[in-house]
Every structure is written in structure tokens, then in C-alpha cells.
Point group: C4
């Protein structure tokens, strides 16, 4: 997690102490970053253990409000081993632009194959955009509703905020994050150049 | 200050020996960078002490004209511990674009919460743009007038020039600077993509 | 190849484990990167030897499907010593924008002289864009058809995907890659600024 | 020169072995980089001495054609101590966009003060754009004509190519280069955002 933080921080994806990261510890626990720390300089004291309801374990530190979004992923995806939440410029700007239509749709990009389970560019990859709120329960219900409707989900944007994505382990999660960041930048470039999305 | 200079210089926010930084020493003094030095390679000889009227203390070196804008912040904000003035491309370009309307208004961005006192994206954060002048007294009066009108102030742009921002200590000041830089870039991106600000 | 991978990875041209590289071993063999590895951290185990029909030599590892595009270059160009395939944002975006017209045409850029055989900016440099397909045989036939028509070829884009380019050795190949990347970025900038290509 | 090369190369201003640098040795000689070398990795063997007519001194190496543009600066400006020629994307794109009007005019930017002799943003700074040609004599005559007309000159663009700028010593020359690069990027940003130059 410290390595991910340092490398993602160097890319400018965690501005102003925003963003948070987690990894699954076992079937009932995860380790998450503590709110407000500089994600480019994470040490052992910047990380705490929570159960999958988001309650702190073995510490008096209070988990950040956004912890609920991490533990939801571990509850809903039995094979999820890591969750990354970042705030890059492309993620923030795209979330504002696509908020009204509720999702960014990727089609025809070879890099869609970087998402687990995708084997061809001739596929459709949807990244939903949920409205932002300071009430995490509302966000959790929005994500649950999407999943309960049986729609595939590999990550999501929150309007004006950033992205959540996950994978089996940290390398797959970083691959997913890099792929979404790349695809969002490409879509924004096409919008600027064509005046309309691809 | 040397660390801030090296890291901000590496980001390209202090081009061509521009920019200056300061930190409060005590209730009546501040340490400021000397004009014209490479901000990416600051040493102890590139920094001098001034009183809060901007007069040099214990040195024959002449403080830069812009020192008056630093000491004004320490006089007006008792809890300000550091001031950063940088010249990034987004800061310079946004200052030109928003000069006519006198401010950049941020609404709906999660990163507004990076500014001290902001707890929700459902808030309004104004960054004023003051006209540029080589006469620092005029700039000081513009800032005083804004504050005397009772309007909140966490930083300001000068047209065609750059940003001033501050905080309790250097880490908070850098968080504010990173947040404003990020938000300005996002607003410029939205302008390019939508043809109108958010 | 490891150096090229590390340096190109740092530029963001190999997102999400995409891209692959090769070098000629002798008149009948080439060394190629194995699919799915992080191109910024290549070791000896991430590289395998194939013959010029793309069959593995001295290993049970399976070469990536795209290996056929590398060996085609070594078959068709007797003096080709290295092939680089990358996925930068400019390469991906330009491939989408110019797919309909089938090529990007560069004229009037001094940097055209970075391509072997070009001695003046008063020349025409065409970079074809081929449709993307997961069937490498189709791609190989498209490249063969271009060459069989006697048209000059120093590199090509695949729609929504990335670039292939080559040279006598790795330094010339990297020079070609840097030149195409630079020229594509310049053309996209002019499109954004003028609303039409140069 | 090696330090300048390494640092400017890292910024991407010397793509594909383009660009060249020089420093004055004495009133009659200059040291210049040899054509075609990677400017990010300059060693002593990549630099040669020429007289101010551009003839090699103490070596059988042939100076690059562009050497004539460097020695012209040392002949015309007695206090010039260094010349930098780079090919950044902003320099190349701006040279194409402003070629028809023959110059880029900067007004109202605080960073104009980074150019020697400028003390206020309320000034006009012109950067001429000369047509590109592979015949250096033509380029030399264009620069001579501008100077003979008594117009101030601190640098110039060549269409589709890059910038030349100079100063008393390498630090001042780099400050000039950084300032022009910054100002060109700002003007291009304003063009994109406003549809018209500042």
C-alpha cells in the first residue's frame, strides 16, 4: 500500500491528502489508510485494520467515513483483494461531464482488455457515475442497487470526486486503475477534438 | 522552505526563478526567500528575516518588493504560519481568463474539503483575481479591501501572474496550494470541454 | 529492452501492462517480451526467443498473439534490428481520429528528419492507421498489402490501440518512436487550436 | 552543457536527438554540441570547438549545419555567453500557428520580467517566427535583417522547428528558455480557451 501510495502520489492522482487505499487481510478484515494523511508518504501508522462493517479493530483510531465504500467491495466481491480510491484530474473532470448521463461507456479501445474478463476491444465497458454526497450510506445503497440489478461493475466514479476500483490483488487493482485513467483521458481528448464522445 | 521549493520547482510551478515562499518566525517576524533565486535549489543564503512591515532584520540584503504581500498575511491572519506564492501555467492562464469577473468560483468539487474549514462539496469557494501592478501598495490595499469587507479569503490570484495562499503551517499551506492548483486545472478542463465554466 | 521498457514506462506509454518490444537475435530469430508483464520492470524471465514465423524456441512459454506483427517486420525488413509497440494516449487518440482517412500525414515539421532517410522538412511522411482486430493474420495481411503496393513504411497505428515502429537498432527505433509520438502530439494540438489538421 | 542537456531532455524539449546547445569559450570561439547525439546524455566527445565563422578548431569532426545560427549570436551579441536551441511541443506548435503573422507577441504577463531588461508586465515582448529552410544562410540573413532593423531580439522561433534563445551565461539562458516556453504554453492555452490570443 505504501508503494502504491508513493507511485500514485507521484502521478498526481492523490492531490492535497485526498484518496484512500485498502487491502483485504482475511475473509472478515481489511487494512485501510487513515484519513488526511499524505498518500505519497504512507507509513505503518497511517494504516488501520477494520472488520467488513467498517469498525476499527485493535485500535482507538476512527476509520474515515469512506471506509464503508471499501468494506462494501470486500463484502460484495469475495475475490476482491485490494481497493484503490484516487482523485486524478481526468477522473474528477469526467465525473462532472458524464454525471447527467450516469455513466461513461468505453467501446473500441484495445485497453478495455486490461480489465479482468475482457478479451477483445469489441466489447462495451461501462463505468457508472454516482451523485456525490457526504452521507456514505447513500453511496453504499447506490452501489448496491447497481450490483443488485445484475450489471457488471469494475469501478465507479463519484461526481466531482474521483474513482473507486478493485481487483484480486494490488497489481490487478493498479492495472484496472491505470486502464480506467488512460481510457478516461482518451475519451476527454476525443471530446475536445471531435466535440462529441467516441 | 527548501523542501517546498525543490518539490514545487519539480512540478514546474516556479518557472524562470519566479515565485517566493515564507514562514512565520514569531509574532513579529517572518523568513522569506530572496528575489531572483532558483526556487528549486534554495540554501540558507537564499532566505532572509524581515519584520511584519517588511523591513530586513540582521542583514543588509534588500527584501523583494513582493515581501509586502507575505507580511500582510501574517499581520491579518494571526494563525498563518506559512505563505506560498507560485506561478504555475494553470494559475497564470486562469488569472487572465477570470480577471474580468474578478474571481474564480468553485462549487461541487470534493476537493474543496482540502481547504481548512470546508466540510462538504456543497459549498462555495471563491478565489479572487486582483489586477496586476508593480506597485505593491496597490495590491496590499486590494487585499485589505477584500478582507475589510468581511469576505472569506484562503488565497488569491494576480492577473497574468500567479497565486498566493497560506495556512497554519507549511503542510497545510501546501495542501491549500495543491487543492487550488487542482481545482483551477479542473475548471479550465471543463471550460475547454463544455465551452462554459461549471 | 529492459532499459527501453523502464524509460518508456516512465513516460506513460505502456499503461496497464500493455505494449511489447523485440530485438533481432540473428537472421532467423528475435527476442520478444512475454505478454502481460509490467513493461517498466522487465527481467530476463519476461523475454523469450522466437523464430521469424513466431514459434517459440528453447522454451515452453507461449508467445503473445502480437508476436506475429514483430516477426513480420524482421521478415520484410532485412535491416530491422528492433521493434517497439506502445500505447501512448496520443497514439491511441490519433488512431481513432484518423482511422476513417486511413493515415496521418506529416508535412513541414523539422522532426520528420528524425526518421531514417528524411533529410528535409519539405517532405511527406505517412503513418497508416489499420483497423483493429483480435485476429493477427488480418493485421499481418494489411501490413503486407501496404508494403506490396510499394509504399514507404516506417511505422503504423492500429485503431484504438497503439503504434508499431522499428529501426536498425534500439537507439534508432527509440528515435523513430519519439519522433512519431512528438509529431502525433503536435498534429493533435494543431487540430485543437485550428479546428483542422495542418 | 551536459547538465542543461540532461535537465532539458528530461522535460521532453529535445525529442529524437534534436536540439543543440553552445557556450562561448572566448571572444573568437564557442563550444557546440555535435549533431545527432542524445542531448540527455552528453559527454565530452559530444562537444566540439568552432570559431565564430563556424569552422571546426582542433578536430576533424564536422560541425552541424545549425552551428551557423549559434556563431551568429556570438558575433552580433558581444555579451552572449550561451545559446540554447530546443524543440518542445509548445515551441513547434506555436511556430506553425503564428508563422503567418511572423511573430508571437506577449503582453501583460508577469513572467516577461524574466527576460533581461524587462522590469514590468506592462511591456511588449515580441518573439519572431522565421520560415524554415534547410539553407542556414537564408536563416542567418533573416536574423540579420531583423537585427539590422534595430528591433529587440531575445530569441526566435523557426516554423515547424523550435526556438533559439541566449543570455550572458547558461543560467540566464535557461531562465530565458523557461520563460519563453512558459509564455508560449500560456498563449496556446488562452487560444484554446478563448478562441483568440490574449
Amino acid at each position: 500500500m505504501a508503494t502504491a501510495g508513493r507511485e500514485l502520489g507521484a502521478l498526481g492522482w492523490t492531490p492535497a491528502t485526498s484518496s484512500n487505499f485498502s487491502m483485504r487481510v482475511d475473509s472478515a478484515h481489511a487494512a485501510v489508510t487513515i484519513s488526511g494523511r499524505d498518500k505519497g508518504r504512507l507509513g505503518i501508522d497511517d494504516i488501520m485494520v477494520v472488520d467488513l462493517d467498517g469498525h476499527a479493530v485493535g485500535t482507538t483510531a476512527r476509520p474515515s467515513a469512506e471506509t464503508a465504500l471499501h468494506t462494501q467491495i470486500y463484502r460484495r466481491f469475495a475475490d476482491a483483494g485490494a481497493v484503490l480510491h484516487t482523485h486524478s484530474r481526468a477522473q474528477s473532470v469526467a465525473s462532472r461531464l458524464y454525471a447527467a448521463q450516469g455513466l461513461v461507456r468505453f467501446e473500441g479501445w484495445e485497453l478495455q482488455k486490461a480489465i479482468a474478463g475482457y478479451t477483445t476491444h469489441e466489447s462495451v465497458l461501462d463505468l457508472p457515475v454516482f451523485p456525490n454526497t457526504q452521507d456514505m450510506h447513500v453511496l453504499v445503497r447506490q452501489v448496491d442497487a447497481w450490483l443488485d440489478a445484475g450489471k457488471p461493475l469494475h469501478g465507479y466514479l463519484i461526481d466531482g470526486h474521483g474513482i473507486y476500483t478493485w481487483g484480486r490483488d494490488m497489481p490487478e487493482t493498479r492495472r484496472h486503475l491505470e486502464a480506467f485513467e488512460f481510457l478516461l483521458n482518451c475519451e476527454l481528448d476525443l471530446l475536445r477534438l471531435k466535440g462529441t464522445a467516441s
